[in-house]
């Protein structure tokens, strides 16, 4: 037991002496949190648009004023004619043009109807859809207030539950926790173990009185502690800086994080026992773990929008289950009775991975 303690202490020293790795371990989560909190947003805001309005009468001026006043759009000016839209789109100067038909007010007065064309640069379909919806609703409000013809007969009251301000950071923080845990636990552990193999120090450890289980636990323990510290850091920062809520039980949240950490660590050990060089370990971890965690877990892209084949594949991505669980706890504030199934799946995966990694580590020793 004493030799085991010495071994663990040595592992901690390894990590703390390598300031580059430390920087990655603690700097990366903070920077990513800041990026996701401040910079990576998909709210529609200040989109550049232009008007095409050859008449510029009192009606079009009023409508333009309304559009200008909204926070969705940033009006960069007038285009002389519809033909100039193409050029402006190609240069990326604007994403939408609002085109009033010539003689707008007089047509409206005499014929009872006047056209507004909302031309969007639809290369980004989501933004295009939203821009269109917002512009149309501004015009609809104008109609109701000034033309009075189509009073709204049905009033909708929309309520946004779990995230009333529609902040994307609320959605991303749980995913970020999963990503960081994968990075620290799986990637770092697999690298540190293969490194000992490459350097030949693993053999020295194996002929020492330490039991194989002690070696694994000793290697993994520092990362276990570090990743837990990381989770707490992210949660505290997210709470203080971005006001991300933790509505459910904090102990339950931490317990689920521990489960996921165990799962990721087992994955790391499994990868390291199967690969002989740091390079292979890194590549397998990046391609096999980090990419699915980012892309196929529901972190950024909703799983329900994916093709069925990919949706089926997401079932074997541990991060998917973990994300459902911590979003439930943090944003919905509900208890284990709602996600015991997901917890069970994650626990099952962890058990299988642990057994597999223990077995492959053993066979390697014989």
């Amino acid at each position: 037991m004493k030799s085991f303690r010495g071994f663990v202490i040595k592992e901690f020293f390894h990590i703390f002496r390598d300031y580059r790795t430390l920087l990655i371990l603690f700097g990366m989560p903070v920077i990513q949190l800041v990026l996701f909190g401040y910079a990576v947003r998909n709210e529609i805001q200040d989109i550049n648009i232009a008007f095409v309005d050859s008449t510029n009468d009192h009606v079009t001026r009023q409508i333009k004023e309304r559009i200008r006043a909204s926070s969705y759009f940033n009006v960069i000016g007038q285009l002389p004619s519809e033909r100039d839209i193409r050029e402006a789109f190609q240069r990326g100067l604007i994403k939408e043009a609002v085109v009033f038909e010539p003689g707008f007010a007089s047509r409206l007065a005499h014929d009872g109807v006047a056209d507004i064309r909302i031309v969007t640069d639809a290369t980004d379909p989501n933004t295009a859809k939203s821009m269109q919806a917002y512009t149309a609703s501004i015009i609809a409000h104008y109609q109701r207030d000034h033309l009075g013809s189509t009073a709204l007969r049905i009033v909708t009251e929309s309520r946004m539950r779990f995230n009333p301000e529609l902040k994307s950071v609320n959605l991303f923080v749980p995913g970020l926790i999963a990503l960081i845990l994968m990075l620290v636990c799986a990637l770092m552990t697999s690298i540190t173990i293969t490194r000992e193999k490459e350097l030949g120090t693993m053999e020295v450890l194996l002929v020492s009185p330490l039991k194989p289980i002690h070696i694994i636990v000793g290697k993994v323990l520092p990362y276990f502690v570090l990743s837990f510290v990381n989770v707490v850091t992210i949660l505290v920062l997210a709470r203080l800086v971005f006001d991300v809520p933790v509505r459910g039980s904090v102990p339950l949240l931490l317990a689920e994080c521990l489960l996921f950490i165990l799962c990721a660590l087992s994955l790391g050990i499994l990868i390291s026992s199967r690969s002989n060089s740091q390079q292979t370990a890194t590549m397998v971890s990046l391609a096999g773990l980090l990419l699915p965690t980012v892309i196929l877990s529901g972190f950024i892209f909703p799983i329900s929008s994916m093709p069925v084949a990919l949706q089926l594949f997401t079932h074997i991505v541990p991060a998917k289950w973990f994300l459902i669980i911590i979003r439930d706890i943090m944003l919905k504030g509900i208890g284990i009775e709602y996600f015991w199934k997901e917890t069970l799946v994650l626990a099952g995966m962890t058990l299988i991975l642990m057994t597999a990694s223990a077995r492959s580590f053993k066979t390697r020793l014989e």
């Binding site: 031309v119 007969r153 391609a287 909703p302």
Partner: protein, 374 residues
């Protein structure tokens, strides 16, 4: 010149012999393109809707039918009693709850406006926002028909004035998300190849010690660097060509602009990223360190590139930061040239920005890469 040929020959031999690298260079990008192209979508296919219909009238059922007929909403549960605890939102069985109050039909026929409630699971704020705008559009449509019907019923003679809104979606009329994402993913793929391989390649020579041997030969600094970077440039361009074929054939993404313009701009861009990788290799000692640094920068570059989320949505300071991000420039270029058929004039600002960037980063890297330590 002859010396260069010998280096190129050696580099190509080494790249094609490296069993660990080959699949990463040639298989992974394709797999990534296919998976990312299918998975990276914010497109909202179907919103699961649980309905609490307290009115249970003809009008309320018409409203529900109209919502379902739009194709965006699917009813996951229906109840007429008063329960609206939002249980379905908690369990995740529904994305949205529609609550129609009692007397909905009566209100529609009288002067009172009828009120309905929409409750969204807004964890994903963007999706909830879009779902809300779908629902509002459908409902205001119904609302207008009701109003027009009333006008007819009352047989009022006054002609109503209205503004007709005609939407037009250019470049992507079907609002296909893949059309938007695939050009951006192509950028990421060539970027990864360029940066990672150039960083690792030079550091590898350091690690195995052959760089020391090269340093005592008459090999010139520029010869070494050109010899290292040129093969990677060729590989990355070949990969881009291959990726464009996949984009066209598999994802049906249009390529409206000129191919030669795409490749010319890609070359300038790759010079930036190769120089960047080379720069990383000058102050790292192991492939591991180089990997991590390259990875770290990549994550920041990609998140700040406008690939997933529009740059316009970022706060002012972040938008200014993206001006220093080469990935953001090339994503803009690819989307404009491929999807909008932009010519050189429309991307000249980005071209010059990349040219300046390439000059700066390459001279910095070459300066840092010293044969003789001072």
């Amino acid at each position: 010149m002859r010396t260069l040929l010998f280096i190129l020959q050696k580099e190509f031999l080494q790249i094609f012999r490296n069993r660990a690298m080959l699949p990463i260079i040639f298989v992974m990008p394709v797999v990534q393109l296919i998976i990312l192209g299918n998975a990276a979508t914010f497109e909202i296919k179907q919103i699961e809707m649980s309905v609490v219909d307290r009115d249970n009238s003809l009008s309320s059922r018409q409203l529900i039918d109209k919502m379902e007929a739009s194709g965006y909403f699917a009813m996951s549960s229906y109840s007429v009693d008063g329960r609206d605890t939002g249980e379905e939102l908690l369990t995740g069985e529904a994305d949205m709850q529609l609550v129609i109050p009692k007397h909905f039909e009566r209100d529609l026929r009288t002067v009172e406006p009828a009120t309905i409630q929409l409750i969204f699971d807004a964890q994903d704020g963007a999706t909830a926002g879009v779902a809300n705008s779908y629902a509002s559009t459908i409902i205001s449509d119904i609302s207008r028909h009701v109003a027009i019907d009333r006008v007819h019923l009352a047989a009022e003679s006054e002609v109503s004035r209205r503004i007709a809104v005609i939407p037009a979606n250019w470049y992507n009329p079907n609002l296909n998300y893949q059309t938007y994402m695939v050009p951006g993913i192509l950028v990421i793929l060539v970027t990864m190849i360029g940066t990672f391989l150039s960083a690792m390649n030079v550091v590898r020579e350091k690690e195995i010690g052959t760089i020391e041997q090269l340093n005592v030969t008459p090999l010139k600094r520029y010869q070494f660097i050109v010899g290292k970077l040129l093969p990677l440039l060729i590989i990355a361009l070949a990969e881009l060509a291959f990726g464009l074929v996949i984009a066209r054939v598999l994802f049906d993404v249009p390529i409206l602009g000129s191919l030669s313009l795409i490749f010319a701009l890609a070359t300038v861009y790759l010079l930036v990223m190769l120089g960047f990788g080379l720069w990383i290799s000058t102050f790292t000692h192991t492939q591991q360190q180089a990997m991590f640094l390259a990875w770290f920068f990549m994550v920041v570059f990609i998140l700040m590139s406008g690939l997933f989320t529009p740059i316009e949505s970022m706060p002012e300071w972040a938008q200014r930061v993206t001006l220093a991000n080469p990935v953001a420039y090339f994503i803009k270029i690819m989307r404009r040239v491929m999807l909008k058929g932009a010519g050189f004039g429309a991307v000249s600002v980005e071209f010059w920005a990349l040219t300046v960037y390439a000059t700066l980063i390459l001279s910095l890297a070459v300066k840092q890469y010293r044969k003789v330590s001072a």
